[in-house]
Amino acid sequence: MTDALVQVTGLKKTFDLSRPLINRILDRSGRQVVHAVDGVDFAIPRGQTLSLVGESGCGKSTVAKLLMGLTAPSGGSIRFDGVELAGRPAGSPPETRRRMQMIFQDPYASLNPRWRVARIIGEPMKSYGTHPDPADRRREVDRLLEFVGLSAADGEKFPHEFSGGQRQRISIARAISTKPEFLVCDEPTSALDVSVQAQILNLMRELQRELGLTYLFISHDLAVVNYISDMIGVMYLGRLVELAPAEEIFARPQHPYTRLLLDTIPDIGMKNRDIDRPAGEVPNPITPPLGCHFHPRCPHADARCRSEAPQFLPQGAAQVRCHAVAEGRLSPEPLRKAG
């Protein structure tokens, strides 16, 4: 953990959904606050990939935005290579921002439709001053285009002339143009078709090998995450419920929610047709259940789970937030449909 490039401790983000003061006084209602991220801890070692998975509303994308400084944390600490990024009203120092870049989910919305590709990719190099000379910058753009599998001539085109997969290649070229060390990837393949998704995932692994990049990868798809990650964190209603090495999560999932996620993935091997499906849905994050957030859906919940929030404790190679696991009521089980 000493060589962690990114270290996040007790990270919190609350959003105030309260109605205006006058309405609250008239209705005698209080403030309403949603804890989008509710005390998240993790560290990403240099050159590795941490993936955050979870269902919509679990706070995984908010963590990505907090790390990139796109929204300010309500509490906790984010350290990037030893520099504290939380609690800076003016944002992170420019040199730090150059070293961390982001790839977004929707390759149709994240590229300016009125700019040529060469300008899109060259812009970060211009604004961070890494390639101030225009001719030099253009040479670098051409090199990047070829590096991500496009051709130098594509720099003269506009984004609409490309397919979804090619656009995501352009986004990747833009993200690596400032020679960053850390990439935050928020569902980079979920808008793409499967055959194209494989191309982008392979490209991202290749980039990591060649450039020594560190990734924070956000996804709702455990199978995609299996391919790309060293560590996996499972989030539920703003909290990390399990954090473990990738092979550990798939071989010995511990938290009941992790097991549920693994069990419900539609299986192309057709092994779990017609089995009983776990009931229930993610509750409204504005009014999360007391105690362990997962207890209403959990088959192992008891009185303690309903009243007391579990701590995030080490269990073997993993960290798990579950009373049943901590008390030894629930032993790690090999996955039913492994392999």
Binding site: S195, A198, R205, D221, L260, T264, P266, D274
Partner: protein, 322 residues
């Protein structure tokens, strides 16, 4: 007799630059109680096929050749009013986004009762009873109370259950489900898939399930039709097509899906992208991306033909290793 037969269906979009065929020569049939999966990437024509069957093609798109028969009767050339009577009564539709499929200013009950009474000769009270019964069948807890609430008071998964109740409440013989689980989280998706399968079995309705997700197909469908660039490239029983794909596209697609379990160093990928409708090659549309391509593939478009339990449109279907 098949409940639904689609023969050589071609949908054409005329434009200033000449007309383009969104789908070409699509032939499918679905038996009562059967779930046929239609799978493919965006732009392959799977949703277009569904839209053509329910008669909801966006103009200027139109059926330029082929025919669609429901229980033996042609429905592709019906006037709009007659088609409207078939939609809802004999063909139910479930769409991707449960929020936009429901009217936000009417209660769930009003919408169900209106649909039931539009198609069945029932009194208001009887229709309400039936609506409550349907909400119970799709797994809405306390349906007597929930029937008088509005769609925004339901979660995403519960809304999709209501949409399914709406599609089924007039007891149609055929259900077109277009990406019914795509907007839902995985744990909820699994519940909706199980519900669809159960209801199809109980009511004996045939289902055409359109999706891009092979996992959903594997867990839901009985037979699957794989579409590529507006045509069916492979069709057959799910177990056959998914485990022994004969078409190079199906094989490549199956290999490129990331899975749980030991991970490969490199994920197998299909190079390039699907051609747009206006720039499809003259021969096999998959030929430019195909690792087994021969000269004949570029010159001649392969027809769909039987190889074992499945039908495949590939010149080399017998020779490619499974």
């Amino acid at each position: 007799m098949a409940l639904l037969t689609v023969e050589n269906l071609t949908v054409t979009f005329p434009s200033r630059h000449g007309s383009t065929n969104a789908i070409e020569n699509v032939t499918i049939h679905v038996e009562p109680g059967e779930i046929l999966g239609m799978v493919g990437e965006s732009g392959a024509g799977k949703s277009m096929t569904g839209a053509a069957i329910i008669g909801l093609l966006e103009p200027p798109g139109h059926i330029s050749s082929g025919e669609i028969r429901l229980e033996g009767e042609r429905i592709d050339n019906l006037p709009p009013a007659a088609m409207r009577r078939i939609r809802g009564r004999r063909i139910g539709a479930i769409f991707q986004d449960p929020l936009t499929s429901l009217n936000p200013v009417l209660t769930v009950g009003d919408q169900l009762i209106e649909t039931i009474r539009a198609h069945l000769p029932l009194t208001k009270e009887a229709a309400r009873e039936r609506a409550i019964d349907w909400l119970r069948r799709v797994g809405i807890p306390a349906p007597e109370k929930r029937i008088d609430t509005y769609p925004h008071q339901y979660s995403g998964g519960m809304r999709q259950r209501v949409v399914i109740a709406l599609a089924l409440c007039a007891e149609p013989r055929l259900i077109i489900a277009d990406e019914p689980t795509t907007a839902l989280d995985v744990s909820v998706q699994a519940q909706i898939i199980a519900l669809l399968r159960r209801l199809a079995r109980e009511t004996g309705a045939a289902v055409v399930l359109v999706t891009h997700d092979m996992g959903v197909i594997a867990e839901t469908a009985d037979r699957v039709a794989v579409m590529y660039a507006g045509r069916i490239v492979e069709v057959g029983p799910v177990a056959e097509v998914l485990t022994h794909p004969r078409h190079p596209y199906t094989a490549g697609l199956m290999a490129s899906i990331p899975r749980i379990g030991p991970r490969p160093e490199i994920l197998p990928q299909i190079e390039g992208a699907m051609p747009r409708p206006a720039s499809r090659p003259a021969g096999c549309a998959f030929a430019p991306r195909c690792p087994y391509r021969i000269d004949r593939c570029i010159a001649e478009r392969p027809a769909l033909r039987g190889t074992g339990a499945a039908q495949v449109s590939c010149h080399l279907a017998e020779e490619i290793p499974v």
